[in-house]
């Protein structure tokens, strides 16, 4: 399973990449695969503030709706509007062009609760066995 080393991961299968006080959030390779072909993405308004673990949007496949949760608290500063016309980017490039939102970190210490790439890979493995 692909999970880049420079990202942090949540138990809800979001990834986050920090660049100073701004961070980018998306869903993982594993999450997009579980979901199947993404046909719709619902994005939040720029300027909205979310708490940790709060749903900030949803991605939908042919069969299912999946909420996307904040791995950390923060304020939305940008959304990936190209997903409105091309939601399949979430399947094709979940860690790149399939990013979902950028936020200003509310509390950088939130990051400490997240998993490293190695920890996340182990978590997914255990989850699929359980």
């Amino acid at each position: 399973m692909k999970a880049p080393d420079d990202l942090l991961y949540s138990k809800e299968h979001e990834w986050i990449q920090r660049e100073s006080d701004i961070a980018t959030i998306g869903i993982t390779e594993h999450a997009q695969k579980e979901l199947g072909d993404v046909v719709f993405a619902d994005l939040p308004e720029v300027g909205t503030t979310f708490k940790v673990n709060e749903a900030f949007g949803s991605v939908e496949s042919v069969k299912a709706v999946s909420e996307v949760y904040m791995p950390v608290s923060g304020e939305v500063v940008e959304t990936n509007e190209s997903l409105l016309d091309a939601p399949e980017k979430i399947n094709d490039d979940p860690y790149g062009e399939g990013w979902i939102i950028r936020i200003r970190l509310g509390n950088p210490t939130d990051l400490e609760t997240l998993m490293s790439s190695q920890e996340y890979s182990k978590y997914v493995e255990e989850e699929s066995q359980g």
């Binding site: 199947g36 072909d37 046909v39 719709f40 042919v62 069969k63 709706v65 409105l84």
Partner: protein, 361 residues
Amino acid sequence: MTLKKTPLNALHKEYGARMVDFAGWEMPVHYGSALKEHFAVRERVGIFDVSHMGEIEFIGPGALAMAQKVTSNDVSRLSDGQAQYSAFLYPQGTFIDDIVVYRISDQHIFVCVNAANREKDYQWVKSKKEGRVDILDNSDSYVQLAIQGPKAEAVLQELTDLDLSSIQYYGFTFGNVNGTRCLISRTGYTGENGFEIYIPVEEAPSIWERLFQVGKPFGIMAAGLAARNTLRLEVAYCLYGHEIDETTTPWEAGLGWIVRLGKGEFIGHDSLEKLKEEGKQRKLAGFEMVGRGIARDHYPVIVDGTEVGQVTSGSFAPSLKKSVGLVYLPIQYARIGQPLEVEIRGKRVQAKVVETPFYTR
């Protein structure tokens, strides 16, 4: 509860299927991409294992009379080798099941029923048995494959000496597929040209594999339940448990054409006659989303601030690049162009009533 498995279960897993519970069966929902499978059927050819469907046979001198009594369509209008869409109805005129009736002869009627209703249907029909007829649940004796799409005929023709072009729409015949005698019918649930074949269980895995070999140059794909659902929804075919059930009548569902009141007595006849005179209060309507969002099953549908119905089937429609759905609406709100709102997880999103089928080839 242990899920039932079709004889092709192991093959599906080998082909990369994601399996789900459907009506107590472990069935493929997709083999990697429901969208690609959908487009394979619309543009080329796809193959579905639909062995979870049941087969009930009426055999004996009383077979035709029995079928006339328990089904709503007119079996006497069929020649041997013709099939028709029909229904088993309760006396009050609502659906026990929607079915396909195959007239093999006046002494042998073969009925394809929904997986979820198989036991209920069988018990019902047996309890209404009359005359010299045996009623058999032979569901475990057949594998049913649906080969659907513009290239379906070319693919299946590779495995049979029978001239498939001689089979009309809703016609069927017995013929060899890969050397095995099967019932071959030009029917389907996708809105595309195609065939459904009923195969003896033992021969099914080899026929499935052969279809893939000969289908390869045509771009054949295995297709799962997710694609089956988007394909049938685009052409607004009813699905039992969604558009039709024990609370809905053929009149409301837009299935008046499978009811032949003039054929004589059948179970449900008198209620349907009465309901027809009274006129319907609601009807099944198609809608598409105007605002952004996907309407899904059970979402509330609102007119002027009041909930007037719930989505019976709703999905993104891949061939239309739109979200569409079906809903029972009070007849005053069921006209084309009627503005609606669909409540999508707490948010009301604009929609409107449109013509069905949503998709035509």
